[in-house]
C-alpha cells in the first residue's frame, strides 16, 4: 500500500501537472471541437461541416437539418443534449483532481482521478454512440425518403444516401486522449526506473 500513499518522482509529477493544464481550461475556454463530421455530396463538393464542442454544436447545422429532414432524421439542436450542461464542468473537475494530485503529490489521488476520468470517458463514448444510433434509427415514419435504418460511424467514412460522411475526433479529443495517456505513461516510467534501479523512490 506504500505505493499508493507515496509521492511521484519529479518527472512523473510534471506529467500530472501537464494533465491538469490540459483539463482545467475546458470549462472556461471550450474552443476546441471534440468531434467533427464532414459531409460531401455531388452538389456539396466543398462539404458541410458539423463540429461538436464540449458545450455546443456548430457548423452548417441549419443546412444539415434541412437536408436531413428529407430522410426523417431528427433535427440536431444543441438544446437536445443535456451532456452540454455537464461535460465541460466534468472535464475541468478532472483537471482539478489532477491539480490536487500534483499538489499533494500522492499517487492515490492522481490514480483515483485517472480512474474516474477513464470511467467518464467510457460513459461518454457509449453515450455518443447511443446518440448516433438514435439519429440513424429513430427516423420519422412520415419522411419523404425512406432509408433503411443506419448507425453513423463513431470514426471513419460511411455513406448515407447521396452523402459521404467522415467522422473524426477533433483536436479537443486528441488533447484529452493525450492527457489521459499521461497516467499510464507516468506509471510505466516509474516501473521502468524501478526495474533499472535508478535513483529515486523505489517501488516499495
Amino acid at each position: 500500500m506504500h505505493y499508493l500513499t507515496d509521492r511521484f518522482r519529479p518527472t512523473e509529477r510534471r506529467l500530472i501537472w501537464v494533465a491538469a493544464l490540459v483539463l482545467l481550461p475546458v470549462f472556461f475556454f471550450p474552443v476546441l471541437p471534440i468531434w467533427t463530421m464532414k459531409l460531401w455530396a455531388p452538389q456539396y463538393r466543398e462539404g458541410l461541416t458539423l463540429m461538436i464542442y464540449t458545450n455546443t454544436i456548430k457548423g452548417d447545422l441549419q443546412n444539415i437539418n434541412i437536408l436531413n429532414h428529407y430522410v426523417g432524421m431528427h433535427a440536431i439542436t444543441p438544446d437536445d443534449f443535456k451532456e452540454f450542461q455537464y461535460l465541460p464542468q466534468a472535464l475541468t473537475f478532472f483537471g482539478v483532481m489532477a491539480l490536487i494530485g500534483a499538489l499533494v503529490n500522492r499517487r492515490w489521488v492522481a490514480i483515483l482521478g485517472w480512474l474516474a476520468f477513464t470511467g467518464f470517458a467510457v460513459y461518454m463514448f457509449s453515450d455518443y454512440a447511443k446518440w448516433l444510433w438514435h439519429y440513424g434509427h429513430d427516423l420519422d415514419p412520415r419522411a419523404a425518403l425512406k432509408l433503411p435504418t443506419f448507425t453513423p460511424p463513431l470514426i471513419g467514412m460511411s455513406r448515407m444516401a447521396n452523402f459521404r460522411v467522415l467522422s473524426l475526433p477533433g483536436p479537443g479529443t486528441v488533447l484529452l486522449g493525450l492527457a489521459w495517456l499521461l497516467g499510464p505513461i507516468a506509471i510505466w516510467l516509474e516501473v521502468r526506473a524501478a526495474s533499472r534501479g535508478a535513483p529515486g523512490r523505489a517501488v516499495a
Binding site: 457548423g59 437539418n65 429532414h69 425518403l145
Partner: protein
C-alpha cells in the same frame, strides 16, 4: 563515341525546332492555338467578367472572357418576370412605370482611374435614366431619373476617375423646360443639356449635381478626363447645323462640329455658389451668364466617340464621317483657355481654335467610331464602314500599325480594362451591329455578333466569334479577381419590413381589405401554405427565404396571374396579388430548389366577398414546431 555526338546534336536540333514551332503558334505573351487560348476547363473560371449592355432589351449581359461564355443577365430597365424584377413591390417602384429602356453604356465605378469593382452604372437613353448595379450581388439598386430637362441620355454615364460623377447629355434637343413649341423654332427655343450626377462615395447613391444649358446640337458621347485632365469631361456632338428635319442630310453639312469640354468642378462650384437657375426643379447653369465652365473644340464632320487615353494627355475623337481620329492635347486646350484664345462662341459657349488644340490626325480608315487602349501605348479604333479594328500608336509618328477584319459593321469595342488608366492589353472584343451569315440561321431577326481578339502579340489575332442577343452597344471587361460577390444574403443583415426569421412568426394578418402574409420559404415548403382571404382583398405576400445555402433560391408563382418572383437565400420580397374571384388559387415554387421541389406548393382559398375570415391566421403549431427545429442554427 561519334554516334553519340551525332545523336545528341540531332536531339538538340529537334528540340530547337520544336521550341521554334511552339513560339510561332503563340504570339508574344500568348501561348497555344486560338482554341487553346479561349478554352477554360470545366469547373474553372474565366479571367475577366465582361458586362455587355443589352441595348433596347434594357438590361446587361454578363459574359466570361476569354471563353466568351454567357453567364447571366442583370435586369435593369426591363421587367424580368422570371425573377420577379419589376413585379415585386420594391423593383416595381424602382422601374417607375416604365417597361422599356435602351441601355447603351455600362460604366464601372473607378478609383484613381481604374475599375474598383464596386458598382456598375448604365444609361437608359430614351428615358434619361441611370441605373446603379451593386457588384456585391449583381442587382440593380437605384434608377435615377428621368433626369429633368434632359431629352435622351446617350452621352452617359462615363464615370469620373474616382466615381465623383456620372454624366448625361441630351441627344435630341427639346425646349427647356419642355413646353408647347413649334419645331421650326428649334434654334430659338430648343436646348441641349449636359448633366453631372453626383455619386455618393460610400454607397453609390446618385443625386443631382448640376445641369448646363447647351446649344441644341445632338450631344452624342462622352468620356471623363483622367490624370492631368482629371476634373474635365468631354462630350461630342453632331448637328451643330441645328437641323430639325431630314437630319441625315442636313446634319451632315458643316465641316466642323464640336467636342464640349466641361470643367465639372467649376460647374459644381457655380451651383454651390447659387449661380444656377432652377428649371424643372434642378439647378441649371447658362454658359452665357456663368463663364469658365464649358468650352467647345471644333472637330470635323459629325464625330462620334470621344476617348481619353490612359495617361490622360490626349482626347481622341473618332470622325464617323471622316476617316480620321482627331487627337486633341489636353495641355494645349488648357493653354488656349488660359490665354483666352477663342474664335467666338456658340450661344455663350466659347469656341477654341482647331489648330490650337489639335495634336494629331490619325488616318485610321472609314467610319471610325470608338477607341480603346492597351498597356503598351497603342490605341484601337473601331471602323464601322470598313468592318475593321485599326491599331495605332498614341504618340509620334501617330502611325496605324495593324488592322483586323471583324464581322460585320462594328460599333463599340471593348478592350480589357481598355478605358482605364491601366489597361491590361490582353483582349479586345468587337461588338458588331450585323451578324448576317456568321451563325446558324434563325430567320430574319439576326443575333448580334462579337469577336474576341488577342492583343498580346505584335499583330491582332482573331480568337473566337460568338453571337449575343439584342443589342450590345458599349461593354466593359474587368479582371475577375476585382469582384467579390456574395453567395447568400446574410439573414442577420435582413431588416426588410415584412421579414420574419422564425417559423413562430409566420402568419396572415387581415385589416379591412388588406391582407399581409408573413411567410417563410425553406426546402421544401411554404409556411404558411394555406391562406384564406376574401374576394376583393389586396393580398401582400412577404416571403423570407431562411436558407443560407449557396444557390438555394425559391420561387413564388400564383396560378392564373402575372405574380411570380424569386426569393434568394436570406432575402425578403413583397409581392401584391388581388383576389379578384372567389375560388381556389394554387401557388408553387417556380424556381427548382431541391428533391421535393414539385411538392413545394400551397393554396389561397378565396372566399366569397364578405365571408368571415380570422383577423390573424397562424399555421398549424405542429408544423411550425417542426420547421422551427430545422432552423435552429448553432
Amino acid at each position: 563515341m561519334r554516334r553519340w555526338i551525332v545523336l545528341t546534336l540531332a536531339g538538340l536540333a529537334t528540340l530547337g525546332l520544336a521550341t521554334q514551332l511552339t513560339g510561332c503558334a503563340g504570339t508574344g505573351g500568348a501561348r497555344g492555338s486560338a482554341a487553346e487560348r479561349v478554352y477554360v476547363k470545366p469547373g474553372e473560371h474565366d479571367a475577366y467578367y465582361a458586362f455587355l449592355s443589352g441595348g433596347h432589351h434594357g438590361n446587361i449581359y454578363v459574359y466570361g472572357m476569354p471563353s466568351c461564355r454567357y453567364i447571366t443577365t442583370i435586369p435593369v430597365f426591363t421587367p424580368e418576370p422570371a425573377v420577379g424584377y419589376g413585379v415585386d413591390e420594391e423593383s416595381k417602384a424602382m422601374l417607375g412605370g416604365f417597361t422599356w429602356g435602351d441601355a447603351h453604356h455600362p460604366g464601372l465605378s473607378e478609383t484613381d482611374g481604374d475599375y474598383d469593382g464596386r458598382w456598375l452604372f448604365i444609361n437608359d437613353m430614351p428615358n434619361a435614366r441611370i441605373a446603379r448595379i451593386d457588384l456585391k450581388d449583381f442587382k440593380t439598386k437605384q434608377i435615377f431619373g428621368p433626369i429633368p430637362n434632359l431629352s435622351a441620355a446617350h452621352a452617359c454615364p462615363f464615370p469620373t476617375p474616382n466615381t465623383e460623377y456620372v454624366f448625361a447629355a441630351s441627344r435630341f434637343s427639346v425646349p427647356v423646360p419642355n413646353r408647347p413649341a413649334k419645331v421650326e423654332d428649334y434654334a430659338k427655343d430648343f436646348r441641349g443639356v449636359i448633366a453631372g450626377i453626383k455619386v455618393d462615395p460610400k454607397d453609390g447613391t446618385m443625386s443631382m449635381g448640376f445641369e448646363i444649358l447647351m446649344p441644341p446640337f445632338a450631344w452624342d458621347l462622352a468620356d471623363a478626363g483622367k490624370g492631368p485632365s482629371h476634373g474635365w469631361a468631354f462630350f461630342t456632338c453632331y448637328n451643330s447645323e441645328m437641323a430639325f428635319d431630314s437630319l441625315e442630310v442636313k446634319a451632315s453639312q458643316a465641316e466642323m462640329d464640336y467636342v464640349a469640354a466641361v470643367d465639372w468642378r467649376a460647374a459644381q462650384k457655380a451651383v454651390d455658389e447659387g449661380r444656377a437657375k432652377t428649371i424643372g426643379g434642378v439647378p441649371v447653369l447658362d454658359p452665357a451668364e456663368v463663364k469658365g465652365i464649358v468650352y467647345l473644340m471644333p472637330v470635323p464632320k459629325s464625330p462620334h466617340g470621344v476617348d481619353v487615353n490612359p495617361s490622360g494627355e490626349y482626347v481622341c475623337v473618332a470622325g464617323k464621317l471622316q476617316a480620321e481620329v482627331s487627337v486633341f492635347s489636353y495641355a494645349k486646350m488648357k493653354a488656349a483657355i488660359d490665354a483666352g484664345n477663342f474664335d467666338g462662341d456658340r450661344m455663350g459657349v466659347p469656341v477654341l481654335k482647331y489648330e490650337d488644340v489639335l495634336e494629331a490626325k490619325v488616318p485610321v480608315g472609314l467610319g471610325p467610331l470608338h477607341t480603346q487602349f492597351d498597356d503598351k501605348g497603342n490605341a484601337y479604333t473601331s471602323l464601322f464602314l470598313d468592318s475593321q479594328i485599326a491599331k495605332w500608336k498614341v504618340g509620334p509618328p501617330w502611325d496605324v500599325t495593324d488592322k483586323i477584319d471583324v464581322y460585320y459593321s462594328i460599333g463599340h469595342l471593348m478592350a480589357s480594362e481598355g478605358d482605364t488608366r491601366h489597361p491590361t492589353g490582353e483582349y479586345v472584343v468587337a461588338l458588331d451591329k450585323l451578324s448576317k451569315d456568321r451563325y446558324l440561321n434563325v430567320g430574319p431577326t439576326h443575333p448580334e455578333a462579337a469577336q474576341l481578339i488577342d492583343l498580346r502579340g505584335p499583330k491582332m489575332e482573331l480568337l473566337y466569334d460568338f453571337p449575343t442577343y439584342l443589342e450590345p452597344h458599349y461593354a466593359q471587361m474587368i479582371k475577375a479577381e476585382k469582384l467579390k460577390p456574395i453567395t447568400v444574403y446574410p439573414l442577420a443583415e435582413n431588416n426588410k419590413p415584412g421579414a420574419i426569421k422564425r417559423a413562430e412568426d409566420a402568419r396572415v394578418e387581415r385589416k379591412g381589405n388588406r391582407v399581409d402574409v408573413y411567410g417563410l420559404v425553406v426546402r421544401t415548403h411554404f409556411t404558411p401554405d394555406i391562406i384564406r382571404v376574401n374576394e376583393g382583398d389586396d393580398v401582400y405576400f412577404h416571403w423570407t427565404n431562411l436558407e443560407q445555402d449557396d444557390d438555394i433560391a425559391h420561387g413564388f408563382g400564383i396560378l392564373w396571374s402575372s405574380c411570380n418572383m424569386q426569393v434568394e437565400p436570406g432575402e425578403t420580397k413583397t409581392i401584391h396579388w388581388k383576389a379578384t374571384k372567389a375560388g381556389i388559387n394554387p401557388f408553387y415554387c417556380s424556381n427548382f430548389c431541391s428533391a421535393l421541389h414539385q411538392e413545394m406548393q400551397g393554396y389561397i382559398q378565396v372566399n366569397p366577398r364578405g365571408s368571415t375570415v380570422a383577423a390573424v391566421q397562424r399555421p398549424d403549431p405542429k408544423k411550425v414546431a417542426e420547421v422551427a427545429a430545422l432552423l435552429k442554427d448553432e
